[in-house]
């Protein structure tokens, strides 16, 4: 498994040297950005068992922070870092407050509050015209370090791998283990003496901050930001990527991001052939419902449980032979 990942990573790093296609690189950059976003979502849904329907708000906070900083001030690396700090602070505060309010209650409350709060952010972005230029959004210049598409491609790839390793380490740490215990059985974890609320809020904050960073990268890659970053569609993207790829695996989120973005690209191209493909999201909706119903572990989870079964059968046979 590790070997496969390394080969894929090396391939992606070297790709710009051998292949030149602007569209493909933009698409791949998009995939890396959404992978970070989907992994942050996976930390909540897959590892802690918290359902959020307003993940777009963290994404949007990041996108707007960078946009506003670059537009109002000079597009330099210094202001870029300031904007990133701003994103981290804002997303941390928002996710902390939301977590504090709702995570001690039933799981529905977090989903509901995030859903309505992201609706509020959408309205805010539409109405606060002096700051956000309303519905139409605005373009902005990015620091010169990010102008080169290939460099930015490497940066996003690097960050995706970094976030992956970080989250891998994080979920395997004692803290992450407690989170997984909460997912499996919250009451039991509590009766073992863990303060469940603290762990859930931690998960919420880490996930919110990472989603904000994904938002920053997204806005920089487009050099444009508008209210669409706060819409339900962004949250749905994260949901689809995580669920279809496989919850609680991290790799699943990356694979899911790849599948959804490629399929999106492909179906948008098909839309010229037939109008039904403009409503491409309907196919994903149906696939999503079927996956939740029949393959709740997603692609990665289903595949790995299959291979695990095979291994187990293999081992049993071996034992039988030994005994025989």
């Amino acid at each position: 498994m590790t070997a496969v990942i390394l080969i894929v990573a090396a391939f992606l790093v070297l790709l710009p040297f051998v292949y030149e296609s602007r569209n493909l690189f933009i698409l791949l950059t998009q995939i890396f950005v959404f992978s970070i976003f989907a992994m942050s979502y996976d930390l909540l849904l897959g590892f802690t068992g918290i359902v959020s329907f307003g993940h777009a708000m963290f994404f949007g906070i990041g996108a707007y922070s960078i946009g506003i900083f670059m537009k109002r001030f000079e597009p330099t690396l210094g202001y870029f870092l300031l904007a990133v700090l701003m994103t981290i602070a804002l997303t941390a505060i928002v996710s902390f407050v939301v977590g504090l309010l709702t995570l001690r209650l039933k799981s529905h409350f977090y989903a509901m509050l995030t859903l309505s709060l992201s609706g509020l952010f959408l309205v805010l972005a539409e109405k606060w015209r002096s700051m956000t230029y309303g519905n139409d959004g605005f373009t902005f210049r990015v620091p010169e370090q990010f102008i080169d598409r290939t460099h930015f491609y490497w940066l996003c790839l690097f960050l995706m791998v970094a976030v992956f390793l970080l989250l891998k380490r994080f979920t395997n740490s004692p803290l992450g283990r407690v989170m997984q215990a909460i997912r499996e059985n919250e009451q039991r974890t509590e009766s073992l003496g863990y303060h469940v609320l603290h762990y859930k809020i931690t998960a919420s904050v880490v996930s919110g901050v990472l989603a904000g960073i994904a938002g920053v990268l997204y806005a920089v890659s487009l050099r444009f930001v508008n209210t669409s970053v706060f819409t339900m569609d962004i949250t749905l993207d994260a949901l689809l990527m995580t669920i279809i790829g496989g919850v609680g695996t991290l790799v699943g989120a990356i694979i899911g991001a790849g599948i959804i973005e490629f399929a999106h690209d492909w179906l948008t191209a098909l839309a010229k052939e037939h109008a039904i493909f403009e409503r491409w999201i309907i196919f994903f909706g149906i696939i999503y419902i079927l996956v939740v119903m029949f393959f709740p572990k997603g692609i990665v989870g289903t595949l790995s449980s299959l291979s695990w079964k095979k291994k187990k059968q293999h081992a049993v046979k071996k034992e039988e032979k030994m005994a025989g």
Partner: protein, 286 residues
């Protein structure tokens, strides 16, 4: 003075529409522990199908009945094939109802096109009454009356009929009801159907009230309905009607005085309720 009365009537009418959506949501939650994120989709389906029938037949009453029937059918389908397979698993339930919401609202765009559709009330509900300096728009009064009627009807069913008794008992303790030999699955389906029907009715009534309908309106109203359900207390039917009126009134007054903050005020209300009384403003459970 007449401004205040006008705003109050506006608020009451909006409140009644939200109530129609929130009532089903809260009953379904109380009984089955399912928070139906697709409820807004049923609302929008009610609006589209009802107005389509209205435009084809020219009879608004037929449109309303058609919308309610659409709600019933969609409710049965949703309960039977979407929610039933995942009963008992909260995370899966929440996820699957959101997926359904997505499919429902995209289906609307496939069938009726992605653009807004205009709607106007039938002739006998157009215009207004003038009482001195106060002008009451007929259609708004009509919405308020329908809302009150539905509230009274549901209250009657819950309090005076056998099925209502079973529903109330089920909210308190499902297992006990089941062990007394009542097929709770059938009760679930009945409640889900009724909830979906009420949501669809709310949708079709909204059309002529706001003048246009679009596929995104389900989500907009669903957010208001969630706020109402939280403020009124999850599973509390009476609480939901009071909270709906409260949210409707605050919405209409804020929309007049500080239009940009109307959603924010409701959100703030919800946040305060979550901090102080997570069980809802109105009474304990039940």
């Amino acid at each position: 003075m007449d401004l205040i009365i006008n705003l109050t009537i506006n608020g009451l009418a909006t409140g009644m529409l939200i109530f129609l959506l929130a009532a089903g949501l809260t009953l379904i939650f109380g009984l089955m522990d399912v928070l139906n994120f697709a409820h807004g989709g049923l609302f929008a389906w009610g609006a589209y199908s009802g107005l389509w029938i209205y435009s084809q037949t020219g009879s608004f009453l037929a449109g309303i009945i058609g919308a309610i029937l659409t709600g019933f059918i969609l409710g049965i389908i949703t309960e039977r094939w979407i929610i039933k397979p995942v009963y008992g698993n909260h995370v899966q339930q929440i996820l699957i109802t959101l997926g359904l919401m997505l499919v429902l609202s995209e289906m609307l765009k496939v069938i009726w096109g992605p653009n807004q559709i205009m709607a106007s009330p039938p002739d006998y509900l157009k215009g207004s009454w003038e009482l001195g300096s106060i002008i009451i728009i007929k259609y708004r009064a009509f919405i308020i009356l329908v809302g009150l009627f539905i509230f009274a009807a549901v209250q009657f069913v819950l309090k005076r009929t056998k099925i209502g008794l079973v529903v109330r008992a089920g909210v308190m303790n499902k297992e006990m009801v089941q062990s007394l030999g009542i097929n709770i699955q059938k009760v679930f389906m009945f409640v889900f159907m009724m909830g979906a029907g009420m949501a669809a009715l709310g949708g079709v009534l909204l059309g002529p009230y706001s003048g246009v309908i679009h596929a995104g309106m389900g989500m907009e109203f669903a957010i208001l309905a969630f706020i109402v359900v939280v403020i009124g207390g999850m599973g509390n039917f009476k609480g939901s009607v009071l909270a709906a009126i409260l949210v409707g009134l605050s919405g209409s007054f804020m929309a007049y005085y500080v239009p940009d903050l109307s959603l924010a005020v409701n959100m703030l209300l919800m946040a305060i309720v979550l901090i102080i009384r997570p069980q809802g403003l109105f009474g304990a459970k039940g």
